[in-house]
Symmetry: C2
Subunit: 172 residues, 2 copies
């Protein structure tokens, strides 16, 4: 029926859509968070470690263990965005990168798609470029430890777990 | 520094928190979506099929393949909420249910935790109770098909993939 943007913030806008449901004729609003697409990078070192980033997250007000990622800039490819975020957040660069696919992070609330990129041969190769408000601790963990980290709750970020699963399924 | 609720909707509220970052002294707002916790249910039939629900999702404006789930009501346990949503959305009931754990669906934007429940011995056993605005198509798929469905992009809901991964890792 109608759609309007009701608020704009740094990273997201809020969009209110009105739908009419037939045959009841009920008219209802749905509020969704609009943003550019997101990318997560599974960055692997030559000795089989995953590059992890821990940062304070305002939704849950605690430090959360994640992989590097962020918002894809307009006109930027997901792979380029992933490698840019990897370098900015961790200082690592990759020898090769591969696009693993596209997920829906939360299709009920968010317009964004979530792109997943695999970066291999990653090495620390430069200075990080954190935004003024970013505090990110970089840590490496062997890929073989990831299942136990998910089981124990050390790795609880659902989008990171989904991205890791895409990589595992690609391996067959 | 400060925190205030700036808007309330049917399922979510928006909260704006102000932080001051030391040592720069930069003061910045962060907007997050507040809601009750969420639950997803991996409902398995006696012949090894997963109960899936396809419904229109307003964020991406398309029908999305998911598992049953919803918001945990105040005072309700995650397992009770999961079995309630399973019955309401699909008409299935379970012989036994198990709490698999708690994930963070999107700690940068959402305050919610995501609880994951395994329900086994599921059978169609009653009338669905859809909310007036819900349109949900129920479908069964063999558990063994899930990896191929993720690989092909047929199953793209990241939170559902993370929940399925928790179940797989529990199996060892």
């Amino acid at each position: 029926v109608s759609s309007r943007t009701i608020a704009r913030y740094r990273v997201i806008s809020l969009r209110e859509d009105h739908y009419r449901f037939e045959p009841t004729g009920i008219d209802a609003p749905f509020v969704v968070c609009e943003s550019g697409d997101w990318v997560l990078v599974l960055a692997i070192t030559p000795d089989g470690q995953l590059v992890l980033a821990r940062q304070f997250r305002h939704g849950v007000r605690e430090a959360v263990l994640e992989v590097p990622g962020g918002i894809v800039d307009p006109g930027e490819s997901p792979v380029a965005a992933g490698l840019r975020e990897l370098a900015e957040e961790t200082g690592y660069t990759a020898q090769r990168a591969e696009y693993l696919g596209r997920l829906l992070p939360n299709p009920a609330l968010n317009t964004a798609h979530l792109h997943v990129v695999l970066a291999e041969g990653c090495r620390p190769a430069g200075t990080r470029h954190l935004e003024p408000l970013e505090r990110i601790d970089v840590t490496l963990r062997p890929l073989d430890d990831i299942p136990a980290m998910i089981r124990s709750g050390e790795l609880r970020h659902a989008l990171v777990i989904a991205a890791w699963t895409m990589m595992k399924l690609r391996e067959g």
